[in-house]
Symmetry: C2
Subunit: 271 residues, 2 copies
């Protein structure tokens, strides 16, 4: 009989953005199977209230847990920011969000102690990056700002476009003068716009995205719990979405950095 | 006993945008009560599939019909573009979408017969403006383009911002050279960006938004069906949203052009 270690790592996101996190998990843990759910019928979460995001996050998590996963990664920053306690309470599998690993990585990176955080309205309003940062670096000064145009700019594929540079300048132009040396990219879409964001804040600022930190925490957790896959065949990667797969596939391959195949549409509305 | 004419006009939209349509209805029909539903928990519809948008549209419509309305206005362009037949079949109240009135107004406006249409991905992919235009103006040439960044730019309040001008130039710069004299603003958010859009296409192009045309069709329909309100007190305006009202109120007042009060949150998920 197979042990739990053969089960996939579950990953959910409000839509496409979480594929940037999944891509790093695939690279860091090449022997692990994964099961990804993108809630494309209800995307985005970033402008929605904590109550609604928590309801959707529980829906998503239960879908993955029912299909069988050994650990859940909440790849969506907004859901991690507002729904993690509810998920940890409701689920029997270990849950890893993106906020704490990202905040700790930023705390290790900063020398000046002045850190910027950018994300969706929901993530920024929650104050969760700030709280996690101050836990490990109580003397830190945190500047934060929602950047709602970055998500549609990333989905348009305007990574090198003058418009993205102008928008980044508008959102972040005054950040650079605050003595900040570290900026947390607190939304899974933002690494796609790394170029314009770096230009806006200047080369002296290190950009921190949570994906690498999350993958490391997942590896540690699996090891600690004796759940690391002990082999027995090539890993399998499954993809589920709540709306038709077409757009997810087209935009998603750019985010994952690899071809996407066998995406299945599912209905997870609570009936 | 009161007749049906005392019932409100129902209006639904995926979120906030439909308030630009509601504002014109209030001005055109000052004696009529209205009941507005913004599906802010599932907004936006523009990047979602026809199947999902139709499911949400039916949810929204049934909520309003159950509370009692005499006519339904589908203020959302995407829902009008893909879900109107399903709504007409499922409901017992008359249904007015925004596509046909807008297309007919454009057909009356154009002299060159070259018409542009901009909207969400869902609206543009549906081809519905084109179909309605060609019904009344079979010789028309239609250029169309999705403009996904216009919605977040309008919600940011960047009406006069250089970024909005640059984005409008990118999307529409080559439209002006096509002999086009009329451009349909096929999304309820776009009238907010009238300035940058007009600059991008030049003063020779007339911008057509559906709101005025829709209000006229509603007035005609009520008259034809004997449903025009015959007085008996000041009109009442009710507002429902599916997520918490805060953001709807802040952004919405700019869209409606009037203060918003008494917004109520409702759960319309099919349980």
């Amino acid at each position: 009989m197979r042990g739990q270690d053969h089960l996939p790592i579950g990953v959910f996101d409000s839509g496409i953005g979480g594929l940037t996190v999944l891509g790093v998990i695939h690279k860091t843990l090449p022997g692990e199977s994964t099961m990804y759910l993108g809630d494309t019928a209800r995307v985005p979460y970033g402008t929605k209230s904590p109550e609604v995001v928590t309801r959707y996050a529980l829906n998503n998590a239960r879908f993955l847990v029912q299909r069988g996963i050994k650990l859940l990664v909440v790849a969506c920053n907004t859901a991690s920011a507002v729904a993690l306690p509810a998920l940890e309470e409701a689920l029997e599998v270990p849950v890893v969000g993106v906020i704490r690993p990202g905040a700790r990585k930023a705390a290790r990176t900063t020398r000046s102690g002045v850190v910027g955080v950018i994300g969706t309205e929901g993530t920024i309003m929650s104050g969760s990056y700030e709280r996690e940062l101050l836990k490990v670096r109580p003397d830190a000064t945190v500047f934060k700002r929602p950047c709602p145009l970055f998500v549609p700019l990333a989905e348009e594929g305007w990574e090198d476009h003058q418009v993205s540079k102008a928008v980044a300048g508008e959102y972040l132009g005054d950040f650079a003068s605050e003595g900040m040396d570290t900026l947390i990219l607190g939304c899974t879409h933002y690494p796609v716009l790394r170029g314009p964001i770096q230009s806006a804040v200047g080369d002296g600022v290190t950009l921190v995205d949570s994906a690498t930190a999350v993958a490391e925490v997942v590896a540690e957790e699996l090891d600690r719990l004796g759940l690391t896959c002990k082999g027995g065949g090539p890993p399998a990667h499954e993809f589920f979405v709540t709306d038709v797969p077409q757009r997810f596939q087209t935009v998603g391959e750019r985010f994952l950095g690899a071809p996407l195949a066998g995406i299945r549409q599912v209905d997870i509305d609570p009936h």
